[in-house]
């Protein structure tokens, strides 16, 4: 049973790795941010699964924190990205 | 109060603290400064004579020694040789002080000048008193440090250049000496000058090392003693004021080097052991080369002080030459030349200073007919010149005579040739000056820089009179036990060198 959860966790990790492609590709910062956001949620799920698989319930607290705090990064992101938009048209064609 | 302990320390501090106090005096307080200076130097002269009395008559051994924690002690010890050097430096300090007071009257930065001047004397006192090579080295470096400000005293670009040259040479020499001293210490452990012969025990084992050490030491000392390839700083340093040149050439720097060579050969290695190592021959050759080379270069100089400087290069090497020959007479000649050359050369520089100061004459061409304008100075100059050439009965004759005898005794007759050639060259570069001073007409009007009741201010006239008198008496009464020659004999005896 634990192995199943571990496998699930692994699957989600692979998901994250696949999603990295979007981070690398962009093209605009918002895309990268969206991908990071997905990673956050996927990470929460992975941590929860791992908490189950490795039988260490306190890991759930880590998951909780991830869920709680990722929004801060986004808030910081929108505060600091006013200048990035002009790039879009240029990069969209890449 | 234990005089045996305190007297050497008093000797040092009499000039050291005078110097320190003078630094912080205001430029205007001339009277106080002069009083301090004179008090210090007169005290020192008395102290030296008192010490001589105690040493020669009462046989007291003056010694100061304390540990530096480095495997060696800081040792001050008075023996005959140091006494002689001390007497020379303290007397000439007094004389030069008087001269400088007159010479520098009204010029800027006098506090600094006299401060370093006193420290310079302290350093040469320390060199005289040093009881081992390490203590010697400490004062030797100190001397470098405190003479630099004197060389650049005029603050002109030229002076600074000269100062830089001087520093490079002497610091390099200091570094070599440092290397040699430490190396020797590593091989032998602490070694006082009285322990002559300790090296012989190690001779076989460390033959090569000792030879290299000797070479390094002589090179390190040779910089100050102006042995030929290392002499470059000396002519350049002539930009310094006349009393400085006088002191540098007669007592402090050049003599420190020569004195060091004497110490190394006689007291550290021992003459016989150095000879056994085969080191003295090359040394003699180097000295002879320097003698001839210096004289040849002097010939081509047109600046009076420069010519005198090259003459020093040549004359000081007589001392080295004397130490390099294993003979009683050579040793005595070398030691006595230490004094004779000092008093004669200082006279020449004083006179050159007088010419420059009162009439603004630097070049030899300009000296034509100066004998009529400044007869007293010219007479003194002439006397010193004859001494330098080695005409009897002047002091210079005594040294050359002994050196010649020593050459014969030591079986190195070729040295006689050197002596003769050198004397001829001496005449060749000195006599024309004398001739033109007395027998040629002045080329124009003298432009007087300073006026006084006599041909020059009194304070500039008395010192050379005193020194030239000393040179004459040292020659005339050479036979006395208390003349430099008499002392030199005693020193030779003290070192176990007999005829």
């Amino acid at each position: 049973m634990n192995n199943f959860f571990l496998a699930m966790a692994l699957f989600l990790v692979l998901n994250i790795l696949a999603g990295l492609w979007r981070v690398l590709k962009g093209p605009n910062p918002a895309d990268r941010m969206v991908a990071a956001q997905l990673f956050g949620t996927t990470g929460v799920a992975t941590l929860l699964l791992l908490a189950q698989a490795l039988e260490s319930p306190f890991i759930r607290n880590a998951a909780l924190l991830f869920a709680l705090l990722t929004v801060m990064t986004v808030l910081a992101f929108i505060r600091n990205t006013s200048y990035r938009l002009p790039e879009d048209e240029h990069n969209e064609n890449l | 109060m234990n005089l045996n302990f305190w007297l050497p320390i008093l000797m040092l501090s009499s000039s050291f603290f005078t110097g320190l106090i003078i630094f912080f005096l205001k430029e205007e307080s001339t009277a106080l400064r002069t009083t301090l200076n004179l008090a210090g130097s007169i005290f020192k002269v008395f102290a030296v004579h008192f010490m001589a009395y105690r040493l020669l008559v009462l046989d007291n051994i003056h010694q100061v020694s304390f540990s530096m924690g480095l495997g060696f002690d800081f040792v001050l010890r008075v023996d005959f040789l140091s006494l002689m050097f001390l007497a020379l430096s303290s007397n000439l300090w007094l004389v030069t002080t008087i001269y400088s007071v007159g010479y520098l009257e009204g010029s800027p930065n006098r506090s600094r000048f006299f401060g370093f001047f006193s420290l310079c004397v302290t350093a040469s006192t320390g060199i005289a008193l040093a009881g081992n090579l390490i203590t010697f080295f400490i004062f030797y470096e100190f001397l470098t440090l405190v003479t630099y400000p004197l060389v650049v005293h005029r603050e002109t670009r030229e002076a600074l250049e000269a100062g830089r040259t001087y520093l490079w040479y002497t610091i390099l020499g200091g570094a070599l000496l440092f290397l040699g001293v430490v190396w020797l210490q590593v091989i032998t452990g602490p070694l006082d000058f009285v322990d002559t012969g300790a090296l012989e025990a190690l001779g076989r084992e460390y033959h090569v090392s000792l030879c290299i050490i000797f070479l390094i030491l002589v090179m390190g000392l040779g910089v100050k003693a102006a042995l030929v390839p290392l002499h470059g700083w000396l002519p350049v340093a002539m930009v310094a004021p006349a009393p400085v040149s006088a002191l540098l050439h007669a007592v402090a720097v050049v003599k420190a080097g020569a004195f060091g060579i004497v110490r190394v050969v006689f007291d550290v290695f021992g003459r016989d052991f150095a000879g056994f190592l085969g080191l003295l021959g090359p040394l003699a050759v180097a000295a002879s080369f320097t003698i001839i080379f210096g004289s040849l270069r002097a010939l081509s100089q047109t600046d009076l002080k420069k010519r005198l400087a090259y003459s020093t290069v040549s004359q000081v090497s007589y001392i080295t030459l004397g130490t390099a020959v294993i003979a009683y007479f050579s040793a005595v000649g070398a030691i006595v030349h230490l004094v004779h050359q000092g008093i004669m050369k200082i006279t020449l520089f004083f006179c050159a200073g007088n010419f420059a100061e009162t009439l603004g004459l630097h070049n030899i061409r300009d000296l034509r007919g100066v004998g009529r304008r400044m007869p007293l100075t010219a007479i003194m100059f002439t006397l010193a010149v004859f001494g330098m050439i080695g005409t009897p009965p002047m002091a210079g004759f005594i040294s050359k005579w002994y050196l010649g005898l020593g050459a014969l005794e030591g079986g190195s007759a070729w040295i006689l040739v050197i002596l003769v050639v050198s004397s001829l060259l001496n005449s060749a570069y000195f006599l024309p000056i004398v001739y033109s001073m007395w027998f040629e007409l002045p080329s124009g009007q003298w432009k007087t820089i300073r006026t006084s009741r006599f041909e020059a201010p009194l304070m500039l006239l008395v010192p050379p009179m005193f020194t030239v008198g000393a040179a004459v008496f040292a020659g005339l009464f050479a036979g006395s036990n208390w003349s430099p020659l008499g002392l030199a004999r005693q020193i030779a005896f003290g070192m176990g060198i007999y005829p």
Binding site: - | I138, L160, G163, L167, I171
Partner: protein, 504 residues
């Protein structure tokens, strides 16, 4: 409660811990207090630390080395502190330099425009002092990492104190390098822990052997500490950082902070790795770098035209001497000469600390008087500030290693052990280095013999500032006469780990 043996205290009167507690308390108070009280608090703390250091020195001198266990937990569980002759010498150096720099700063930062600097200076400086003191007590490798970070951040903040863009850049460059070094050090801690499962230096030292893990740890830690000590290839951060900071800060950085990392390097090599096989090649390599540093740093100092940069580059050269220790210790068979080399390098560290602090403070006087530290401004200074000129000269003498200064004693012993160990190539350092040092020292001093036509000089410098710089310079000379005590402190009876020997 606590396990293990009771603490080994020999003299009950002295409390070494106070040397850490007082500066930290002072720092906190300085931070909390309103600005008017900061200077007073700072000075008071400095005086207290100094007196405590003196008392502790006396006790170590009489009773020998000492070991403390924090929280009553003995090693390997808890963190220990060790105080032996080596640490007490550095503590004392810090105390002397620290006290005089504090007195100097009290006057230096008193000008109205400097008030804002003073506000930040005192807490940071006292924090740095506390951190340095704990660094010299350190006996646990991880603790060393934390302490090093504390030193690094406070030193970098101080380096940025003057707020010019050059100083900020220099501070950041320094800080990034220290941080990278700390990371390497931490990884080294990991490697040691992987091999031994221990963190206490002395315990590691007793069990550690060779092997790739230990070699790796040694390499990482050595590189980290060499970077922080600004040895030759990693020296580039030092001149701007030390040259751009305000004078008292430069004095602290050059006199003390780089000594801290060097001290740690000694501890790592001779305590932690005392029994493991260190290849002589590594030691020779470090020695070679030291030799190059001596020559290169001094050469760079010669070609500078700003006084503070000359002094800063001179630090690179002078620090190079310290690293000659490694080949000398590891390639000399005779233990007597090992001790000689050891003493020489510690002596060099101490006398350089004093002399360099004096030089920087004197440079500060110069800048305050003439508004610039261009060498040419020296020309007007010599008459106006004879005491500062004298300070420069005295400290310069010590740097050159002329007798009878502390630098002379150091170079003497260094050259002696070099010659005795037969590693001739190293002799170039004291000889050539001395020559080059003389060149730049006289380059500074000769300026004071040039009289400038326009005597448009200069602001006043307070008496206190001149005096404290002069005192430091005097100390750097006078320490030459007290070589015996230093040698005693570094010799066996009060010595926890003798290079190549065993722990007591």
């Amino acid at each position: 409660m606590p396990v293990g043996a009771p603490p080994e205290r020999y003299g009950n009167i002295t409390v070494p811990e106070l040397l850490i507690l007082i500066p930290f308390t002072g720092a906190i108070l300085c931070f909390l207090f309103p600005e008017v009280l900061r200077r007073l608090t700072g000075l008071l703390s400095a005086a207290l630390i100094f007196s405590n250091s003196a008392i502790l020195t006396r006790s170590i001198f009489q009773d020998g080395a000492r070991r403390l266990h924090l929280g009553g937990w003995t090693e390997p569980l808890g963190i220990g502190m060790s105080i032996d002759g080596l640490s007490i010498l550095f503590i004392l150096l810090t105390a002397v330099v620290g006290l005089l720099v504090s007195i100097y700063s009290a006057s230096f930062f008193s000008a109205a425009q400097e008030q804002v600097l003073a506000r930040h200076f005192w807490p940071l400086w006292l924090f740095l002092w506390g951190a340095l003191n704990s660094l010299f007590f350190v006996s646990d490798i991880f603790n060393a990492y934390v302490v090093m970070e504390l030193v690094g951040i406070s030193a970098a903040a101080l380096a940025a104190l003057s707020g010019t863009s050059a100083s900020l850049t220099a501070a950041l460059r320094y800080f990034l390098l220290t941080m990278a070094g700390s990371m390497a050090f931490l990884l080294g801690v990991g490697f040691i822990y992987a091999r031994t499962g221990l963190l206490d230096m002395y315990l590691v030292g007793t069990v550690a052997d060779g092997g790739p893990l230990m070699a790796m740890a040694l390499g990482l830690m050595t590189v980290a500490l060499i970077m922080k000590t600004a040895l030759f290839p990693f020296h580039f951060w030092l001149p701007p950082a030390h040259g751009e900071a305000p004078a008292p800060v430069s004095a602290i950085l050059s006199g003390l902070v780089i000594k801290g990392s060097f001290y740690l390097l000694l501890r790592i090599w001779f305590t932690v790795f005392q029994n493991s096989t260190v290849t002589t090649h590594a030691a020779a390599l470090i020695g070679l770098l030291g030799l190059i540093a001596v020559i290169w740093g001094s050469y760079q100092a010669i070609i500078q035209t700003r006084l503070k940069l000359i002094i800063a580059y001179s630090s690179i050269g002078q620090v190079g001497y310290l690293f000659l220790l490694f080949p000398l210790i590891f390639m000399t068979p005779d233990p007597a000469w090992k001790t000689e080399a050891w003493t020489a390098c510690i002596f060099q560290a101490i006398s350089h600390g004093l002399a360099k602090a004096a030089l920087f403070l004197a440079a500060g006087n110069l800048i305050q008087a003439s508004g610039t530290d261009d060498l040419r401004s020296m020309r007007n200074i010599a008459d106006k500030l004879p005491m500062t000129t004298f300070t420069l000269a005295l400290a310069g003498v010590s740097l050159m290693g002329l007798p009878p200064s502390g630098g002379f004693v150091a170079k003497w012993m260094l050259l002696q052990s070099i010659l005795a160990s037969g590693q001739w190539w190293l002799a170039a350092a004291p000889i050539l280095g001395g020559l080059l040092t003389a060149a730049y020292v006289f380059k500074i001093l000769s300026q004071s013999f040039v009289s400038d036509d326009k005597k448009s000089c200069c602001g006043n410098v307070s008496f206190v500032m001149e005096k404290s710089a002069l005192l430091l310079a005097l100390f750097s000379i006078l320490i030459g006469f007290r070589a015996n005590e230093v040698i005693f402190l570094l010799s066996e009876p009060v010595f926890f780990i003798i290079p190549g020997g065993q722990s007591p």
